[in-house]
């Protein structure tokens, strides 16, 4: 320590001496009195600083005047948001006339196959610079987008760090095909699956991201044709800048804690409850015979305070006389789940070179990224088991009659597992081993050539690749309860997936101004190949004494591929920057479909009117700084109908290699060979979108924002439909039959209430109203058609909770109506006989009109900085969504006949509130009393930071920050978390047991030099 301190003194001493010296040399000061104005008059609050000494500065007063003492011969830098920064030589009296900064309006946004000036854009596009997003600990890029973009709903994964967030742009456009937006990273469109990792975004280190562009309406997305129905997110990574090499280091450390648990009985509570409730019945002795005398808190045992860290270093600069900008980075992320065992580790590397040749005519853009990811999956079943498993038993035991591998569990008298009983949550976590690791690399070479002598024409060739390989295994320890329940002594599954995605894309771009006319025309071609390989082998040692080789099941390699071939073009015309017109067309072919349905044409058109450029506004004295009206229309498609449907259109025979579904033949067994069901007419879903939008800015942009209204219709919606029996090899096929309509209104508002030299405050707000309705579901419409029943069952039997029904939002709950007594208390097993036929039957169900889809969702964020301090928060929320609380249903009654099956389960304290003691009828389980308003407001993070700069001549910056994530949630919802994750890929709103989302406490260090 002492040595370090000495070193610091040695550095600081000359610095202080130097300061005194400098004072001596430049002691002759001059006081500048000045006036800053623009075309309209004095500018208030403009910043005036001494060049090279930013600590010496001031701002203009209410009349635009200032006074500043500077050394003789100094230069003043005058700046104000929305204006070009100006420099003037210091003189006793100066007048500075600020010019509007057209460059700000010229800000360039990356769009599909090219860039566009923000001011010239006609579509509904939101662009965000990553640096504008200031958050505590970001471990994935989707977190950065949460609550930031109107129309974009990010539902974070559960507390499992290997989980995946769900991203929806303007709601779901499809029922059965993918609803994920297309992700384009540095010009490479990604596949929808994560190639071994949660989602395609997980492959990018958030610290490498320069900007996001979210394309929402069809006029912007149609250039991506058959993959664009759910919007497009374009991610551009950082490139080398500046001149000499710079280093950026960031590091964060987080602690994670669950903020709440579910309230279940302790062992003592359970024992006294049972003794009281069953006093005098023969049940009491039977239950007591199964009870232990422990007080085990299972939730306490399965959760932990978890740790995560993120470390990043990047080097960037520009070398070879400024001809070779470069950037290289490496990052490490370790993320632990609060649910024991679960964790995820990731190493990201990236390198980018962007040299230019021939007087900038030829520019090359080379990017390569590498990811190594290692995940340990916790068994999420432990979350539910921790509530169910009896607290009266201690977790560990060596008694072979009641334990396996040292964990107490329910066994039958013959030593086999009681397959109906709940499982010791600890054995569920520690007995299995489920992990995988992924290597992934992607990169591209983009060659852009401006033709010599004809510089308006630019040719662009982009070659890209994305390879990923995942290897993993699932293993149940020998003799564990899971192995026993699974029907084999042990179980070991190994698997490997290999994904590859190759891209070739070429376009030409002609960009020219003819006086007031501006023309920007692009035409191109794209070819993309997707390949996927899956190998799996399983080893069961399910018969003692039999050679394991006999039971080694090696499934044949599963290989899949598809191609996309496209021609596309875009025509932009602008007249005097006032009237803008865009037309785009894409002709797309996907090998997923039959020759006759393979090609699809996806046009779009858009108009925009830059009202602010009109002379009547420009010259008038208004606070309006920008105003643009946009109109757009377009068609897009969805060819991603699932990898299980790659060859749906062809009559295909499949030879089985399964060892468990063979047929006895002669002396042995043979495999089967079968024709599969197929649908020759299958094709993509088509979505047509209309959009009207208004962008505005007031007071030199200190208030700005946009409003968009959209209407989106999806045709040829894929659904599983019944086929006439006798005509196909199954009873249902995937077929294009439905229509869906989606409309919404979204807005974003940004305020800059304070903009001063050392103080700045920004507020961002965005919100989206949305409504989705199914318009058609079957070939032959029938007014009495109930629709397709769907949604997770509420009971242990098969069942459904919601409907896909014409006229309603997908997954609209379909339930029984609860009956209440005069005090408003729900009556057990009493439902309302809605059709009045004197009995409760499935005819008494009603369409609730409610679904998990919120009617309105919003995000709010704010940043405040004062001198070297910065402070910020981000929050998001939604209104009008309803969740079906299955956890509450599971705990609604104290009734149980489990003792008859050789085990007992714990009770939740919720059943004391209902006071229910009977077995829940099948009808009761589907009661609307479990349907709860899931509106919420969540404070995602609050962060604070302090920046140190100016360490003598060391030109670096150090920021130290602290943040809390998942700070609090305001909701009426009684379950753990109103923000539900999908069940089996379906957003059906049923709250089963999700791994709780923890609260994070993070400290963060950034060093830049």
């Amino acid at each position: 320590m002492k040595q370090v301190n000495l070193r610091i003194y040695r550095m600081i001493l000359p610095l202080i001496l130097g300061l005194f010296l400098s004072v001596g040399v430049y002691a002759q000061n001059v006081t500048v009195k000045g006036h800053v104005k623009d075309a309209l008059g004095g500018v208030i609050g403009a910043s005036v600083v001494e060049k090279g000494n930013t600590t010496n500065g001031t701002i203009t007063d209410l009349d635009g005047n200032f006074s500043l003492s500077v050394p003789k011969g100094a230069t003043l830098v005058v700046s104000f948001i929305g204006y070009k920064t100006q420099e003037v030589a210091a003189a006793p009296s100066v007048v500075v006339t600020l010019q509007e900064d057209s460059e700000l309006l010229d800000e360039v946004v990356v769009i599909g196959y090219g860039v566009a000036k923000k001011n010239d854009m006609t579509g509904s596009v939101t662009a965000i610079k990553a640096e504008e997003i200031n958050r505590g600990a970001i471990s994935s890029p989707d977190q950065m987008l949460q609550g930031k973009v109107p129309g974009l709903l990010v539902t974070p994964a559960s507390g499992d760090p290997t989980g995946k967030a769900t991203i929806r742009i303007r709601g779901a456009a499809s029922l059965n095909a993918s609803n994920d937006p297309l992700i384009v990273i540095d010009g490479i469109p990604m596949t929808g699956d994560g190639a071994g990792m949660g989602n395609p975004l997980a492959s990018v280190n958030p610290n490498d991201i320069e900007s996001y562009t979210v394309l929402k309406d069809a006029s912007a997305t149609a250039i991506y044709g058959s993959r664009a129905s759910n919007g497009v997110i374009i991610i551009t990574t950082k490139k080398g800048t500046g001149d000499k090499m710079k280093v950026s280091y960031s590091s964060s450390y987080s602690l994670k804690q669950n903020s709440s648990t579910l309230d279940v009985m302790t062992g003592d509570q359970y024992r006294s409850y049972v003794a009281e409730a069953y006093a005098g019945t023969d049940r009491l002795a039977k239950i007591q015979a199964l009870m232990g005398d422990a007080n085990t808190d299972w939730q306490d045992l399965i959760y932990r305070t978890a740790f995560s860290t993120d470390q990043n270093v990047s080097l960037y600069g520009n070398t070879v006389n400024g001809k070779l900008p470069y950037r290289a980075s490496i990052g490490y992320n370790y993320d632990e789940a609060t649910l024991k065992v679960g964790d995820n580790q990731r190493v990201n590397m990236s390198i980018s070179l962007s040299p230019k040749f021939f007087q900038d005519h030829l520019s090359l853009n080379l990017n390569a990224k590498g990811v190594y990811n290692k995940a340990n999956y916790p068994n999420s079943g432990a979350v539910g088991s921790a509530m169910d498993f009896t607290p009266t038993l201690s977790p560990y035991s060596d008694d072979p009659a009641s334990s396996c591998n040292g964990y107490t569990n329910w066994l039958s008298t013959d030593g086999s597992a009681n397959t109906m009983a709940s499982i010791n949550p600890l054995s569920q976590l520690y007995d299995p081993n489920n992990s995988n690791s992924t290597w992934r690399s992607m990169g591209n070479a983009q060659i852009d050539y401006k033709i010599h002598g004809f510089e308006e024409l630019r040719l662009n060739l982009n070659l890209g690749y994305d390879f990923a390989r995942t290897t993993g295994h699932e293993y149940n320890t020998l003799g564990s309860i899971l192995a026993k329940r699974n029907g084999s002594e042990d179980y070991n599954k190994q698997y490997a997936t290999q994904n590859s995605n190759l891209l070739l894309e070429f376009y030409g771009n002609y960009n020219k101004e003819f006086g007031v006319h501006h023309l920007d025309v692009m035409a191109g071609y794209s070819w993309q190949h997707f390949y996927k390989k899956y190998d799996e082998s399983k080893y069961y040692n399910n018969e003692i004494g039999v050679s394991p080789d006999n039971l080694y099941v090696m499934n044949p390699t599963d290989r899949k591929e598809y191609y996309l071939v496209s021609f596309f073009g875009r025509f932009n015309y602008s007249l005097d920057s006032r009237y803008l017109f865009t037309f785009s067309l894409r002709d797309d072919a996907s090998s997923r479909f039959h020759k006759d349905n393979r090609w699809g044409l996806f046009p779009s058109a858009a108009l925009a009117w830059n009202v602010a450029e009109e002379s009547f506004l420009k010259e008038a004295d208004t606070p309006i700084s920008s105003l643009k009206l946009r109109l757009g229309w377009g068609k897009t498609g969805q060819q991603d109908i699932g990898d299980d449907h790659l060859y749906d259109y062809m009559a295909k025979y499949t030879q089985s290699s399964s060892l468990t579904t063979m047929i006895p033949w002669g002396d042995g067994y043979i495999n089967t060979l079968a024709p599969g069901a197929y649908n020759k007419n299958i094709k993509w879903e088509t979505t047509e979108t209309w959009n009207i939008g208004l962008d505005f800015g007031f007071l030199n942009g200190r208030i700005n924002g946009s409003v968009d209204a959209y209407l989106r219709k999806t045709y040829d919606l894929l659904n599983y439909v019944t086929v006439p029996m006798g005509t196909n090899f199954s009873n249902r096929v995937f077929s294009n039959v439905g229509d869906m309509e989606n409309k919404g209104l979204e807005f974003s508002l940004n305020f800059i209430p304070i903009e001063k030299q050392d103080m700045r405050w920004t507020i961002n707000l965005n919100g989206t109203f949305q409504q989705t309705k199914i318009k058609k579901l079957n070939e032959f419409a029938d007014a009495n058609d109930l629709g397709t029943t769907t949604g997770t069952s509420m009971s242990s039997n098969d069942g459904y909770t919601s409907l896909l029904r014409v006229g309603y939002t997908p997954y609209t709950y379909y339930l029984y109506q609860q009956a209440y007594d005069e005090n408003g208390k729900p009556l057990e097993n009493v439902l309302v006989d809605r059709n009045g036929d004197g009995k409760i039957s499935s005819d008494d169900r009603y369409v609730t009109g409610k679904s998990i889809t919120p009617k309105f969702f919003f995000g709010i964020g704010s940043q405040f900085s004062y001198k070297k301090w910065d402070f910020g928060f981000n929050a998001h929320g939604s209104l009008g969504g309803y969740a079906l609380n299955k956890v509450a249903k599971n705990n609604a009654t104290s009734y149980s006949d489990d003792y008859g099956k050789g085990y007992i389960n714990n009770l939740s304290t919720y059943c004391l509130k209902t006071g229910w003691t009977e077995s829940l009828s099948e009808f009761q389980q589907y009661s609307d009393m479990f349907l709860e308003n899931a509106s919420f407001f969540r404070m995602d993070d609050i962060n604070v930071g302090y920046t140190f700069d100016k360490f003598a001549h060391w030109n670096g910056k150090i920021r130290v920050g602290a943040s809390v994530q998942n700070v609090f949630t305001i909701t009426k919802y009684s379950g753990l978390d109103p923000e539900l994750t999908p069940n089996d890929g379906k957003f059906d709103g049923v709250d089963s047991n999700l791994i709780p989302r923890p609260r994070l406490y993070t400290i963060r260090l950034n060093i830049n030099f």
């Binding site: 039958s412 070819w527 290989r559 030879q655 006895p664 199954s730």
Partner: protein, 543 residues
């Protein structure tokens, strides 16, 4: 410079355009993926194709027992044999269940509707899909010159005929699908008698036509005996199907089967044990069996369901003790505690020394009919569908084999290896006797008929008869063929299914069952989903 770049660009684009458009014609990449022409160009391929049609009866998919190749909510519940047994035994007095699944409630209470349940969907769909698969198989192999193809085609045709028989028996007037309907054209109905006539012609063609079944075949593949036996069963029920009795034909057909190389298994219980396919005695009685294997032919339906669905722990233990297995053994590997037999049905067996409330199986097994496999530990006598501990449990199908080995404790597999008897010789004996009795006016002393009945009774260890009447034969069928999928057809043939005079617990949803079931319920409804997707179909009357 410019020229070079231009020409390079043009060349590159020309190359990529042409090759890339061709890329769109992809073909499946897996070696296991084939087309019709590459599938059936070898004998091996033809055999695997036929194996799949056999598998239509026992498997839910060619991948594993947990995933279905038809769209259903529960793969295990969609197995054909399982739901065939449910529709034929649970709808009447032989099989009751305390589970709350809607298909179980509807089947027990005779409240099924055209809006399908798991049982009606499984049997209808699996039969129709089997028929479609055979149609495809026949279309693709027509004109094949591979040696042995004729017999394979004949077996496929029998499996299609059996599926049509099930549809005719259960659904009356199913859609009649041919090769022309594959991927186009809506199938039409030809009437219940139309299906009957087609079946008679088809089965006779398989016996005497140009593409015959073999006289004998490797177990469990079908031979002429199966076609002949199905004809016997059809003729016995001909009056129900067509309105015209064919008793003499039934007797002749049964006699023809009896004259073939089949023989009664000397020990009745061995027919249903885990090793019934390895046991030559059991195999020789099987005319058409659906094969299962706990490792190689796994199914959550079939006999797995009958073995595991029936018992609870207490009865499983009591039965194991009764049979002398070590303390703590279980006679069934899994104990789902669902299936029951009402006392009314058990009473057909004249059990000796019945007691309720004891700790053993509840009767003197040695002194009783050897076809009785019951237990009543912890149960009340009167079956109550809302109480698990009522009525009798049945362990006719269990986890043991004929060598005294118990596949329950030392082994972990959950599946059953017992094959399910679709047709066995004893049924032919009973058909012969019943046809003779009916020809003789209801009671017969015909020596051949009595000989067959008494052969079955001798095997069961019960007294011989000097005459038999039709009601006695029905009771004998209840004893001999219990839980083999015959009971509903039998009661319909006797007119008892609908009659108020023949009650059973929960008949028509009434606890004491004293109710008439409307006659339209003697057939199940066609699936509403098929009616709405096929404009040619007409729903059965009453639904």
């Amino acid at each position: 410079m410019k020229k070079i770049i231009y020409s390079l660009a043009i060349a590159a684009s020309a190359l990529t355009f042409t090759s890339c458009l061709g890329d769109l014609d992809t073909l499946p990449l897996n070696e296991t993926d084939k087309t019709a022409s590459t599938s059936y160009n070898t004998l091996e391929g033809l055999e695997m194709g036929l194996a799949y049609i056999y598998g239509s009866y026992s498997l839910v998919s060619q991948n594993d027992a947990g995933s279905s190749d038809i769209s259903v909510s529960d793969a295990g519940q969609s197995e054909l044999v399982r739901q065939y047994v449910v529709l034929n035994e649970m709808s009447v007095d032989a099989l009751k269940c305390t589970w709350g699944d809607s298909y179980i409630t509807e089947t027990q209470n005779a409240s099924w509707t055209s809006a399908s349940n798991a049982a009606t969907v499984a049997v209808y769909t699996r039969c129709m899909v089997t028929i479609t698969r055979v149609n495809e198989y026949l279309a693709q192999t027509a004109g094949s010159s591979i040696s042995g193809v004729a017999q394979l085609r004949a077996e496929a045709r029998f499996l299609r005929a059996y599926a049509y028989w099930m549809l005719m028996d259960l659904y009356g007037n199913p859609p009649f699908a041919t090769e022309e309907n594959i991927s186009g054209g809506y199938p039409e109905q030809i009437g219940r008698d139309g299906v009957f006539n087609w079946l008679e012609k088809e089965l006779n063609d398989l016996l005497t036509g140009s593409e015959q079944l073999a006289s004998t075949a490797d177990y469990p593949r079908v031979s002429k005996g199966a076609a002949q036996a199905l004809l016997a069963r059809m003729f016995l029920n001909a009056e129900v199907y067509t309105g015209k009795a064919r008793l003499e034909d039934a007797k002749q057909a049964a006699a023809a089967v009896i004259g073939m190389n089949y023989s009664l298994c000397p020990v009745y219980e061995q027919l249903f044990l885990q090793d019934n396919s390895e046991n030559a005695n059991a195999r020789n009685e099987m005319i058409f069996a659906i094969a299962y294997d706990r490792d190689k032919t796994q199914s959550w339906g079939g006999t797995t369901h009958l073995v595991s669905g029936a018992l609870d722990d207490a009865n499983s233990k009591a039965v194991a003790a009764e049979l002398g297995f070590p303390e703590g053994s279980m006679i069934s590997r899994e104990r789902w505690n669902g299936y029951h037999v009402p006392d009314e049905y058990v009473s057909y067996f004249d059990l000796q020394g019945v007691e309720w409330g004891g700790s053993g199986i509840g009767y003197d097994r040695a002194a009783s009919d050897k076809r009785a496999f019951f237990s009543n530990v912890g149960c009340e006598q009167a079956f109550d569908k809302s109480k698990a501990e009522t009525g009798w449990r049945c362990w006719k199908y269990s986890s043991r084999d004929s060598q005294g080995k118990l596949y329950s404790t030392e082994d972990y597999t959950k599946f059953s290896s017992a094959d399910f008897p679709m047709i066995r010789l004893a049924e032919m004996y009973l058909i012969y006797a019943e046809a003779q009795a009916r020809i003789d006016g209801g009671t017969t002393t015909d020596a051949a008929a009595l000989g067959y009945i008494n052969a079955l009774r001798a095997r069961a260890g019960v007294a011989a008869q000097s005459y038999v009447d039709t009601d006695f034969i029905l009771a004998e069928r209840a004893r001999e063929l219990m839980w083999e999928g015959h009971r509903r057809t039998d009661l319909i043939r006797y007119g008892y299914f609908t009659s108020m005079q023949f009650p059973w617990p929960y008949k028509g949803g009434i606890p004491n069952g004293k109710v008439a079931i409307p006659s339209y319920r003697t057939v199940y409804p066609l699936l509403l989903s098929d009616i709405t997707s096929n404009p040619n179909l007409k729903q059965n009357t009453g639904y």
